[in-house]
Protein backbone atom coordinates (compact mmCIF):
# COMPACT_ATOMS: atom_id res chain seq x y z
CA UNK A 1 0.00 0.00 0.00
CA UNK A 2 2.87 2.31 0.85
CA UNK A 3 6.20 1.74 -0.80
CA UNK A 4 9.43 3.63 -0.08
CA UNK A 5 12.06 2.89 -2.73
CA UNK A 6 15.59 3.90 -1.85
CA UNK A 7 14.41 7.25 -0.50
CA UNK A 8 16.98 9.90 0.43
CA UNK A 9 15.96 13.33 1.60
CA UNK A 10 18.07 16.29 2.56
CA UNK A 11 16.68 19.55 3.94
CA UNK A 12 17.94 22.71 2.29
CA UNK A 13 21.04 24.08 4.02
CA UNK A 14 21.49 20.84 5.97
CA UNK A 15 24.83 19.02 5.82
CA UNK A 16 23.60 15.51 6.36
CA UNK A 17 20.52 13.92 4.82
CA UNK A 18 17.49 13.56 7.12
CA UNK A 19 16.71 10.24 5.45
CA UNK A 20 19.21 7.96 3.73
CA UNK A 21 18.32 5.13 1.37
CA UNK A 22 15.09 4.13 3.03
CA UNK A 23 13.33 1.15 1.55
CA UNK A 24 10.15 0.16 3.31
CA UNK A 25 6.88 -1.49 2.41
CA UNK A 26 3.74 -1.14 4.46
CA UNK A 27 0.81 -3.44 3.70
CA UNK A 28 -2.89 -2.78 3.88
CA UNK A 29 -4.35 -3.13 7.38
CA UNK A 30 -0.96 -3.10 9.07
CA UNK A 31 -0.29 -1.21 12.31
CA UNK A 32 3.29 0.05 12.08
CA UNK A 33 5.11 2.03 14.73
CA UNK A 34 8.05 4.18 13.70
CA UNK A 35 10.32 4.90 16.66
CA UNK A 36 13.51 6.80 17.04
CA UNK A 37 15.23 9.46 19.07
CA UNK A 38 15.00 13.19 18.26
CA UNK A 39 16.47 13.89 14.84
CA UNK A 40 16.33 10.26 13.75
CA UNK A 41 14.21 11.22 10.74
CA UNK A 42 10.99 9.56 11.86
CA UNK A 43 8.83 12.67 11.33
CA UNK A 44 10.46 13.32 7.98
CA UNK A 45 9.56 9.77 7.02
CA UNK A 46 5.93 10.36 8.03
CA UNK A 47 5.69 13.58 6.04
CA UNK A 48 6.79 11.68 2.92
CA UNK A 49 3.70 9.49 3.06
CA UNK A 50 1.23 12.23 2.09
CA UNK A 51 3.61 14.20 -0.07
CA UNK A 52 4.22 17.09 2.33
CA UNK A 53 7.84 16.28 1.61
CA UNK A 54 9.02 14.85 -1.69
CA UNK A 55 12.20 12.72 -1.74
CA UNK A 56 15.46 14.24 -2.99
CA UNK A 57 16.11 10.89 -4.64
CA UNK A 58 14.14 7.66 -4.77
CA UNK A 59 10.36 7.35 -4.86
CA UNK A 60 7.41 7.02 -2.50
CA UNK A 61 4.31 5.32 -3.87
CA UNK A 62 1.02 5.43 -2.00
CA UNK A 63 -1.97 3.41 -3.23
CA UNK A 64 -0.20 3.14 -6.58
CA UNK A 65 0.31 6.92 -6.84
CA UNK A 66 3.74 8.55 -6.80
CA UNK A 67 4.07 11.47 -4.40
CA UNK A 68 6.46 13.42 -6.65
CA UNK A 69 3.66 14.02 -9.15
CA UNK A 70 1.75 17.14 -8.08
CA UNK A 71 -1.44 16.02 -9.75
CA UNK A 72 -1.57 13.01 -7.44
CA UNK A 73 -1.30 14.98 -4.20
CA UNK A 74 -5.01 15.67 -3.62
CA UNK A 75 -5.85 12.02 -4.26
CA UNK A 76 -3.03 10.87 -1.97
CA UNK A 77 -4.05 13.21 0.85
CA UNK A 78 -7.59 11.92 0.58
CA UNK A 79 -6.24 8.43 1.24
CA UNK A 80 -3.65 9.39 3.84
CA UNK A 81 -4.96 11.22 6.89
CA UNK A 82 -2.32 12.83 9.05
CA UNK A 83 -2.49 13.93 12.68
CA UNK A 84 0.23 16.15 14.12
CA UNK A 85 1.83 16.82 17.46
CA UNK A 86 0.18 20.03 18.63
CA UNK A 87 -3.59 19.59 18.82
CA UNK A 88 -4.14 23.36 18.85
CA UNK A 89 -2.34 24.00 15.60
CA UNK A 90 -4.35 21.65 13.43
CA UNK A 91 -7.91 22.72 14.16
CA UNK A 92 -9.10 25.36 11.73
CA UNK A 93 -12.48 26.58 12.96
CA UNK A 94 -14.03 27.52 16.28
CA UNK A 95 -16.85 24.97 16.43
CA UNK A 96 -16.12 21.22 16.65
CA UNK A 97 -18.48 20.03 13.89
CA UNK A 98 -17.38 22.79 11.51
CA UNK A 99 -13.80 21.73 11.97
CA UNK A 100 -14.60 18.10 11.24
CA UNK A 101 -16.42 19.29 8.11
CA UNK A 102 -13.37 21.21 6.89
CA UNK A 103 -11.79 18.28 5.00
CA UNK A 104 -14.90 17.10 3.13
CA UNK A 105 -15.75 20.75 2.34
CA UNK A 106 -12.37 21.05 0.64
CA UNK A 107 -13.21 18.07 -1.55
CA UNK A 108 -16.43 19.70 -2.68
CA UNK A 109 -18.72 17.01 -1.30
CA UNK A 110 -22.48 17.70 -1.18
CA UNK A 111 -23.70 19.30 2.11
CA UNK A 112 -25.97 16.39 3.13
CA UNK A 113 -23.19 13.89 2.60
CA UNK A 114 -20.82 16.07 4.65
CA UNK A 115 -23.36 16.12 7.49
CA UNK A 116 -23.46 12.29 7.45
CA UNK A 117 -19.68 11.99 7.38
CA UNK A 118 -19.26 14.48 10.24
CA UNK A 119 -21.76 12.67 12.46
CA UNK A 120 -20.17 9.33 11.66
CA UNK A 121 -16.64 10.61 12.28
CA UNK A 122 -17.57 12.22 15.60
CA UNK A 123 -19.31 9.02 16.69
CA UNK A 124 -16.29 6.86 15.90
CA UNK A 125 -14.01 8.97 18.13
CA UNK A 126 -16.72 9.17 20.80
CA UNK A 127 -17.16 12.94 20.62
CA UNK A 128 -20.72 13.21 19.33
CA UNK A 129 -21.86 15.09 22.42
CA UNK A 130 -19.38 17.87 21.72
CA UNK A 131 -20.45 18.62 18.14
CA UNK A 132 -21.55 22.17 18.87
CA UNK A 133 -18.85 23.00 21.43
CA UNK A 134 -16.12 25.56 21.02
CA UNK A 135 -12.80 23.91 20.23
CA UNK A 136 -10.78 25.89 22.77
CA UNK A 137 -12.79 24.58 25.72
CA UNK A 138 -11.74 20.97 25.09
CA UNK A 139 -8.86 19.08 26.71
CA UNK A 140 -5.75 18.11 24.76
CA UNK A 141 -6.89 14.51 24.32
CA UNK A 142 -10.32 15.64 23.15
CA UNK A 143 -8.80 18.10 20.68
CA UNK A 144 -6.62 15.35 19.28
CA UNK A 145 -9.69 13.11 18.88
CA UNK A 146 -11.44 15.95 17.02
CA UNK A 147 -8.38 16.24 14.79
CA UNK A 148 -8.69 12.52 14.06
CA UNK A 149 -12.43 12.89 13.41
CA UNK A 150 -11.56 15.64 10.92
CA UNK A 151 -9.29 13.15 9.17
CA UNK A 152 -11.83 10.31 9.27
CA UNK A 153 -14.39 12.54 7.58
CA UNK A 154 -12.15 12.36 4.51
CA UNK A 155 -12.57 8.54 4.60
CA UNK A 156 -8.84 7.77 4.33
CA UNK A 157 -7.40 4.27 4.01
CA UNK A 158 -4.25 5.17 5.91
CA UNK A 159 -3.87 7.07 9.17
CA UNK A 160 -0.48 8.61 10.00
CA UNK A 161 0.08 9.89 13.52
CA UNK A 162 3.11 12.14 13.67
CA UNK A 163 3.92 12.15 17.38
CA UNK A 164 0.26 12.87 17.97
CA UNK A 165 0.47 11.79 21.60
CA UNK A 166 3.62 13.72 22.49
CA UNK A 167 1.88 16.75 23.97
CA UNK A 168 -0.88 14.87 25.77
CA UNK A 169 -1.11 13.92 29.43
CA UNK A 170 -1.27 10.19 30.29
CA UNK A 171 -5.07 10.03 30.21
CA UNK A 172 -5.17 11.92 26.91
CA UNK A 173 -2.62 9.50 25.51
CA UNK A 174 -4.72 6.50 26.56
CA UNK A 175 -7.82 8.09 25.00
CA UNK A 176 -5.98 8.61 21.74
CA UNK A 177 -4.46 5.11 21.66
CA UNK A 178 -7.81 3.46 22.30
CA UNK A 179 -9.35 5.44 19.47
CA UNK A 180 -6.53 4.48 17.11
CA UNK A 181 -6.70 0.80 18.05
CA UNK A 182 -10.44 0.81 17.39
CA UNK A 183 -9.87 2.31 13.95
CA UNK A 184 -7.19 -0.25 13.19
CA UNK A 185 -9.51 -3.05 14.23
CA UNK A 186 -12.02 -1.65 11.73
CA UNK A 187 -9.48 -2.10 8.94
CA UNK A 188 -7.49 1.14 8.88
CA UNK A 189 -3.79 1.01 8.03
CA UNK A 190 -2.03 2.91 10.83
CA UNK A 191 1.46 4.37 10.91
CA UNK A 192 2.31 5.75 14.31
CA UNK A 193 5.42 7.84 14.83
CA UNK A 194 6.29 8.01 18.51
CA UNK A 195 8.97 8.30 21.15
CA UNK A 196 7.04 6.28 23.70
CA UNK A 197 7.96 2.64 23.41
CA UNK A 198 5.03 1.61 25.63
CA UNK A 199 2.69 2.59 22.82
CA UNK A 200 4.30 0.18 20.38
CA UNK A 201 3.71 -3.12 22.20
CA UNK A 202 0.49 -3.92 20.34
CA UNK A 203 1.74 -3.02 16.88
CA UNK A 204 2.16 -5.47 14.04
CA UNK A 205 5.59 -4.12 13.26
CA UNK A 206 8.09 -1.68 14.71
CA UNK A 207 10.52 0.30 12.57
CA UNK A 208 13.48 1.64 14.54
CA UNK A 209 15.25 4.64 13.07
CA UNK A 210 18.58 6.24 13.83
CA UNK A 211 20.28 9.13 12.00
CA UNK A 212 18.00 8.85 9.01
CA UNK A 213 18.36 5.11 8.55
CA UNK A 214 16.25 2.13 9.47
CA UNK A 215 18.37 0.12 11.89
CA UNK A 216 15.85 -2.51 12.86
CA UNK A 217 12.42 -3.67 11.81
CA UNK A 218 10.30 -6.50 13.08
CA UNK A 219 7.45 -7.54 15.33
CA UNK A 220 7.51 -6.17 18.92
CA UNK A 221 8.78 -9.55 20.12
CA UNK A 222 11.68 -9.43 17.66
CA UNK A 223 12.51 -5.79 18.28
CA UNK A 224 12.48 -5.92 22.06
CA UNK A 225 14.97 -8.79 21.95
CA UNK A 226 17.58 -6.41 20.60
CA UNK A 227 18.09 -4.41 23.77
CA UNK A 228 21.62 -3.36 22.85
CA UNK A 229 20.62 -2.01 19.47
CA UNK A 230 17.75 -0.08 21.07
CA UNK A 231 19.97 1.57 23.64
CA UNK A 232 22.45 2.42 20.86
CA UNK A 233 19.56 4.29 19.21
CA UNK A 234 18.90 6.08 22.52
CA UNK A 235 15.61 4.27 23.03
CA UNK A 236 14.38 2.81 26.28
CA UNK A 237 12.26 -0.34 25.91
CA UNK A 238 8.93 -0.51 27.80
CA UNK A 239 9.23 -1.05 31.55
CA UNK A 240 7.83 -4.57 31.29
CA UNK A 241 10.64 -5.51 28.92
CA UNK A 242 13.23 -3.93 31.21
CA UNK A 243 11.93 -5.97 34.15
CA UNK A 244 11.84 -9.12 32.02
CA UNK A 245 15.44 -8.66 30.96
CA UNK A 246 16.67 -7.91 34.47
CA UNK A 247 15.00 -11.07 35.74
CA UNK A 248 16.62 -13.02 32.93
CA UNK A 249 20.03 -11.76 33.94
CA UNK A 250 19.31 -13.12 37.41
CA UNK A 251 18.79 -16.54 35.84
CA UNK A 252 15.01 -16.71 35.50
CA UNK A 253 13.74 -18.24 32.29
CA UNK A 254 11.26 -15.89 30.61
CA UNK A 255 10.14 -16.11 27.01
CA UNK A 256 10.71 -13.35 24.42
CA UNK A 257 6.97 -13.06 23.87
CA UNK A 258 6.45 -11.61 27.34
CA UNK A 259 5.70 -7.94 26.65
CA UNK A 260 2.51 -6.92 28.47
CA UNK A 261 2.23 -6.36 32.20
CA UNK A 262 -0.31 -9.19 32.54
CA UNK A 263 1.83 -11.54 30.45
CA UNK A 264 4.74 -10.69 32.71
CA UNK A 265 2.70 -11.36 35.82
CA UNK A 266 1.55 -14.70 34.40
CA UNK A 267 5.10 -15.69 33.56
CA UNK A 268 6.51 -14.70 36.92
CA UNK A 269 3.88 -16.37 39.11
CA UNK A 270 4.90 -20.01 38.35
CA UNK A 271 8.51 -19.09 39.13
CA UNK A 272 7.76 -17.94 42.65
Amino acid sequence: MIQFDNVTFQYEKANVPALSEITLKINQGEFVAVVGHNGSGKSTLAKHINGLIVPTSGTVTVCGLRTDNEDNLLKIRQNVGMAFQNPDNQLVTTVVEEDVAFGPENLGIAPDEIRLRVDEALASVGMSDYAKNAVHHLSGGQKQRIAIAGILALKPKILVLDEASAMLDPSGRTELLQTVRKLHAAGMTVIMVTQYMEETIDCDRIVVMKSGRIVLTGTPVEVFKETDLLSESNLVPPETVVIRDSLRKLGFKLSDSVLHADQLAEAICPLL
Binding site: N50, L52, L74, F84, N89, V92, T94, G108, H136
Partner: protein
Protein backbone atom coordinates in the same frame (compact mmCIF):
# COMPACT_ATOMS: atom_id res chain seq x y z
CA UNK B 1 -12.45 37.66 27.86
CA UNK B 2 -12.03 33.96 27.12
CA UNK B 3 -15.21 33.92 25.10
CA UNK B 4 -14.11 36.76 22.90
CA UNK B 5 -14.60 34.51 19.86
CA UNK B 6 -18.31 34.90 20.29
CA UNK B 7 -17.90 38.67 20.05
CA UNK B 8 -20.97 40.26 21.50
CA UNK B 9 -23.23 37.56 20.09
CA UNK B 10 -26.18 36.76 22.35
CA UNK B 11 -27.45 33.30 21.44
CA UNK B 12 -31.16 33.02 20.84
CA UNK B 13 -33.77 31.56 18.52
CA UNK B 14 -35.86 34.60 17.69
CA UNK B 15 -37.10 35.48 14.22
CA UNK B 16 -34.21 37.92 13.86
CA UNK B 17 -31.62 35.36 14.98
CA UNK B 18 -32.90 32.90 12.40
CA UNK B 19 -32.59 35.28 9.48
CA UNK B 20 -29.90 34.62 6.91
CA UNK B 21 -26.75 36.61 7.85
CA UNK B 22 -26.79 38.12 4.36
CA UNK B 23 -30.27 39.47 5.03
CA UNK B 24 -29.14 40.99 8.29
CA UNK B 25 -26.12 42.63 6.66
CA UNK B 26 -28.39 44.08 3.94
CA UNK B 27 -30.86 45.24 6.59
CA UNK B 28 -28.10 47.03 8.45
CA UNK B 29 -26.85 48.78 5.32
CA UNK B 30 -30.39 49.89 4.44
CA UNK B 31 -30.90 51.06 8.00
CA UNK B 32 -27.73 53.18 7.81
CA UNK B 33 -29.00 54.68 4.55
CA UNK B 34 -32.25 55.43 6.34
CA UNK B 35 -30.58 57.33 9.18
CA UNK B 36 -28.54 59.36 6.72
CA UNK B 37 -31.58 60.30 4.65
CA UNK B 38 -33.11 62.03 7.66
CA UNK B 39 -32.28 65.75 7.87
CA UNK B 40 -34.54 66.77 10.75
CA UNK B 41 -34.62 65.39 14.24
CA UNK B 42 -38.37 64.65 14.23
CA UNK B 43 -38.06 62.25 11.35
CA UNK B 44 -35.47 60.24 13.28
CA UNK B 45 -38.54 58.60 14.82
CA UNK B 46 -38.77 56.42 11.70
CA UNK B 47 -35.36 54.68 12.00
CA UNK B 48 -35.97 54.64 15.75
CA UNK B 49 -39.27 52.84 15.24
CA UNK B 50 -37.52 50.38 12.94
CA UNK B 51 -34.83 49.73 15.55
CA UNK B 52 -37.40 49.24 18.32
CA UNK B 53 -39.36 46.73 16.23
CA UNK B 54 -36.16 44.81 15.48
CA UNK B 55 -35.15 44.89 19.14
CA UNK B 56 -38.55 43.61 20.29
CA UNK B 57 -38.56 40.83 17.69
CA UNK B 58 -35.02 39.75 18.60
CA UNK B 59 -35.96 39.63 22.31
CA UNK B 60 -32.54 41.04 23.16
CA UNK B 61 -32.36 42.98 26.40
CA UNK B 62 -31.96 46.74 26.07
CA UNK B 63 -29.01 46.39 28.42
CA UNK B 64 -26.84 45.00 25.60
CA UNK B 65 -27.57 48.05 23.48
CA UNK B 66 -26.43 50.28 26.34
CA UNK B 67 -23.26 48.23 26.73
CA UNK B 68 -22.49 48.72 23.05
CA UNK B 69 -23.04 52.48 23.40
CA UNK B 70 -20.76 52.77 26.38
CA UNK B 71 -17.46 53.09 24.47
CA UNK B 72 -18.76 56.10 22.50
CA UNK B 73 -20.13 58.10 25.43
CA UNK B 74 -17.25 60.60 25.56
CA UNK B 75 -17.36 61.11 21.82
CA UNK B 76 -21.09 61.82 22.12
CA UNK B 77 -20.66 64.39 24.88
CA UNK B 78 -17.78 66.09 23.08
CA UNK B 79 -19.73 66.31 19.85
CA UNK B 80 -22.80 67.62 21.62
CA UNK B 81 -20.81 70.46 23.24
CA UNK B 82 -18.84 71.34 20.10
CA UNK B 83 -22.02 71.66 18.09
CA UNK B 84 -23.53 73.94 20.73
CA UNK B 85 -20.58 76.26 20.25
CA UNK B 86 -20.14 76.22 16.52
CA UNK B 87 -23.66 76.21 15.14
CA UNK B 88 -25.09 79.68 14.50
CA UNK B 89 -28.80 80.50 14.67
CA UNK B 90 -31.47 83.13 15.16
CA UNK B 91 -33.28 82.10 18.34
CA UNK B 92 -30.95 83.17 21.12
CA UNK B 93 -31.59 81.36 24.37
CA UNK B 94 -28.67 82.65 26.30
CA UNK B 95 -26.23 85.51 25.54
CA UNK B 96 -22.85 85.52 27.23
CA UNK B 97 -21.36 88.19 24.96
CA UNK B 98 -18.59 86.04 23.47
CA UNK B 99 -20.99 83.16 22.81
CA UNK B 100 -24.71 82.77 22.23
CA UNK B 101 -26.61 79.58 22.94
CA UNK B 102 -29.15 79.30 20.16
CA UNK B 103 -32.15 77.03 19.73
CA UNK B 104 -30.82 75.88 16.36
CA UNK B 105 -27.50 74.85 17.88
CA UNK B 106 -29.26 72.83 20.55
CA UNK B 107 -31.45 71.10 18.00
CA UNK B 108 -28.45 70.36 15.77
CA UNK B 109 -26.52 68.86 18.71
CA UNK B 110 -29.45 66.65 19.64
CA UNK B 111 -29.94 65.61 16.02
CA UNK B 112 -26.33 64.50 15.49
CA UNK B 113 -26.19 62.68 18.82
CA UNK B 114 -29.39 60.80 18.07
CA UNK B 115 -28.03 59.86 14.64
CA UNK B 116 -24.81 58.42 16.09
CA UNK B 117 -26.65 56.56 18.84
CA UNK B 118 -29.02 55.06 16.29
CA UNK B 119 -26.16 54.11 13.96
CA UNK B 120 -24.18 52.32 16.65
CA UNK B 121 -27.26 50.65 18.14
CA UNK B 122 -28.32 49.43 14.69
CA UNK B 123 -24.88 48.04 13.89
CA UNK B 124 -24.83 46.28 17.28
CA UNK B 125 -28.14 44.63 16.45
CA UNK B 126 -26.32 42.80 13.66
CA UNK B 127 -23.48 41.55 15.85
CA UNK B 128 -25.77 40.80 18.80
CA UNK B 129 -28.00 38.51 16.77
CA UNK B 130 -25.46 36.92 14.39
CA UNK B 131 -22.64 34.59 15.45
CA UNK B 132 -19.22 35.55 14.06
CA UNK B 133 -19.16 32.30 12.07
CA UNK B 134 -22.49 33.06 10.41
CA UNK B 135 -21.30 36.60 9.80
CA UNK B 136 -18.13 35.34 8.11
CA UNK B 137 -20.19 33.01 5.91
CA UNK B 138 -22.51 35.87 5.02
CA UNK B 139 -19.66 38.19 4.12
CA UNK B 140 -18.04 35.51 1.97
CA UNK B 141 -21.27 34.91 0.07
CA UNK B 142 -22.01 38.61 -0.35
CA UNK B 143 -18.53 39.33 -1.66
CA UNK B 144 -18.49 36.27 -3.93
CA UNK B 145 -19.58 38.19 -7.07
CA UNK B 146 -16.46 40.32 -6.66
CA UNK B 147 -14.34 37.25 -7.42
CA UNK B 148 -14.83 38.19 -11.07
CA UNK B 149 -12.50 41.14 -10.53
CA UNK B 150 -10.13 38.86 -8.53
CA UNK B 151 -11.27 40.06 -5.13
CA UNK B 152 -10.13 37.38 -2.63
CA UNK B 153 -13.55 36.83 -1.01
CA UNK B 154 -12.88 33.24 0.08
CA UNK B 155 -9.41 34.05 1.39
CA UNK B 156 -10.78 36.96 3.39
CA UNK B 157 -13.47 34.79 4.99
CA UNK B 158 -10.96 32.01 5.71
CA UNK B 159 -8.65 34.53 7.37
CA UNK B 160 -11.49 35.78 9.55
CA UNK B 161 -12.41 32.20 10.50
CA UNK B 162 -8.82 31.36 11.47
CA UNK B 163 -8.39 34.64 13.35
CA UNK B 164 -11.52 33.90 15.38
CA UNK B 165 -10.31 30.38 16.07
CA UNK B 166 -6.89 31.53 17.30
CA UNK B 167 -7.87 34.46 19.49
CA UNK B 168 -8.37 32.32 22.62
CA UNK B 169 -5.32 30.16 21.81
CA UNK B 170 -3.07 33.20 21.51
CA UNK B 171 -4.53 34.70 24.68
CA UNK B 172 -3.64 31.53 26.57
CA UNK B 173 -0.21 31.68 25.03
CA UNK B 174 0.41 35.31 26.03
CA UNK B 175 -0.71 34.50 29.57
CA UNK B 176 1.80 31.64 29.68
CA UNK B 177 4.62 33.82 28.36
CA UNK B 178 3.70 36.57 30.83
CA UNK B 179 3.86 34.13 33.71
CA UNK B 180 7.14 32.72 32.45
CA UNK B 181 8.68 36.20 32.23
CA UNK B 182 7.29 37.18 35.63
CA UNK B 183 8.80 34.10 37.22
CA UNK B 184 12.14 35.34 35.87
CA UNK B 185 11.67 38.65 37.58
CA UNK B 186 10.05 40.72 34.83
CA UNK B 187 7.97 43.60 36.18
CA UNK B 188 4.85 44.52 34.24
CA UNK B 189 2.98 46.51 36.84
CA UNK B 190 5.11 49.43 37.97
CA UNK B 191 6.62 52.46 36.23
CA UNK B 192 5.21 55.11 33.95
CA UNK B 193 3.39 54.40 30.72
CA UNK B 194 6.55 54.35 28.56
CA UNK B 195 8.21 51.86 30.88
CA UNK B 196 5.11 49.67 30.94
CA UNK B 197 4.79 49.62 27.17
CA UNK B 198 8.48 48.74 26.92
CA UNK B 199 7.99 45.91 29.40
CA UNK B 200 5.50 44.34 26.94
CA UNK B 201 8.34 43.63 24.49
CA UNK B 202 9.43 40.40 26.23
CA UNK B 203 5.83 39.18 25.84
CA UNK B 204 5.26 40.32 22.28
CA UNK B 205 8.41 38.89 20.71
CA UNK B 206 7.93 35.30 21.92
CA UNK B 207 4.24 35.61 21.04
CA UNK B 208 5.15 36.66 17.50
CA UNK B 209 7.62 33.83 17.10
CA UNK B 210 5.14 31.28 18.36
CA UNK B 211 2.33 32.56 16.15
CA UNK B 212 4.54 32.18 13.10
CA UNK B 213 5.27 28.62 14.13
CA UNK B 214 1.56 28.01 14.69
CA UNK B 215 0.75 29.47 11.27
CA UNK B 216 3.29 27.16 9.66
CA UNK B 217 1.94 24.06 11.41
CA UNK B 218 -1.65 25.03 10.68
CA UNK B 219 -0.83 25.48 6.99
CA UNK B 220 0.70 21.99 6.92
CA UNK B 221 -2.35 20.52 8.67
CA UNK B 222 -4.73 22.30 6.29
CA UNK B 223 -2.81 21.04 3.28
CA UNK B 224 -2.92 17.51 4.69
CA UNK B 225 -6.68 17.89 4.89
CA UNK B 226 -6.88 18.59 1.17
CA UNK B 227 -7.23 22.37 1.42
CA UNK B 228 -6.46 23.89 -1.96
CA UNK B 229 -8.12 27.29 -1.91
CA UNK B 230 -11.74 28.21 -2.40
CA UNK B 231 -12.27 26.64 -5.82
CA UNK B 232 -14.71 23.76 -5.78
CA UNK B 233 -15.22 24.04 -2.05
CA UNK B 234 -18.65 23.29 -0.56
CA UNK B 235 -20.03 24.10 2.89
CA UNK B 236 -21.79 21.82 5.33
CA UNK B 237 -24.01 24.63 6.58
CA UNK B 238 -25.71 26.14 3.57
CA UNK B 239 -27.03 29.65 3.85
CA UNK B 240 -30.71 29.63 2.96
CA UNK B 241 -32.61 32.65 1.80
CA UNK B 242 -36.13 31.89 2.98
CA UNK B 243 -39.56 33.55 2.89
CA UNK B 244 -38.83 35.34 6.17
CA UNK B 245 -35.70 36.90 4.69
CA UNK B 246 -37.61 38.29 1.74
CA UNK B 247 -40.23 39.60 4.16
CA UNK B 248 -37.63 41.32 6.35
CA UNK B 249 -36.03 43.03 3.36
CA UNK B 250 -39.41 44.13 2.02
CA UNK B 251 -40.35 45.68 5.36
CA UNK B 252 -37.01 47.50 5.50
CA UNK B 253 -37.56 48.83 1.97
CA UNK B 254 -41.06 49.87 2.97
CA UNK B 255 -39.62 51.93 5.80
CA UNK B 256 -37.23 53.64 3.41
CA UNK B 257 -40.04 54.32 0.93
CA UNK B 258 -42.19 55.81 3.70
CA UNK B 259 -39.30 57.98 4.82
CA UNK B 260 -38.60 59.21 1.29
CA UNK B 261 -42.30 59.98 0.79
CA UNK B 262 -42.42 62.01 3.99
CA UNK B 263 -39.23 63.85 3.08
CA UNK B 264 -40.62 64.80 -0.31
CA UNK B 265 -44.00 65.79 1.15
CA UNK B 266 -42.63 68.20 3.74
Amino acid sequence: MRDITLGQYVAGDSVIHKLDPRTKIAMMILYIVMTFLVRQIWFMTIPLAYLIIELLLSRISLRYIFISLKPIRFLLILMFILNLFFTSGEHVWLDLGFWKLTGEAFLQSCFLSVRIVLLVAGASMLTLTTSPIALTDGIEKLLAPLKVIHFPAHELAMMMTIALRFVPTLMDESEKIRNAQMSRGADFESGNIVKRVKSMIPILIPLFVSSFRKADELATAMESRCYHGGDGRTRMHQLRFRKEDLFAILITLLFIAALVAILIWF
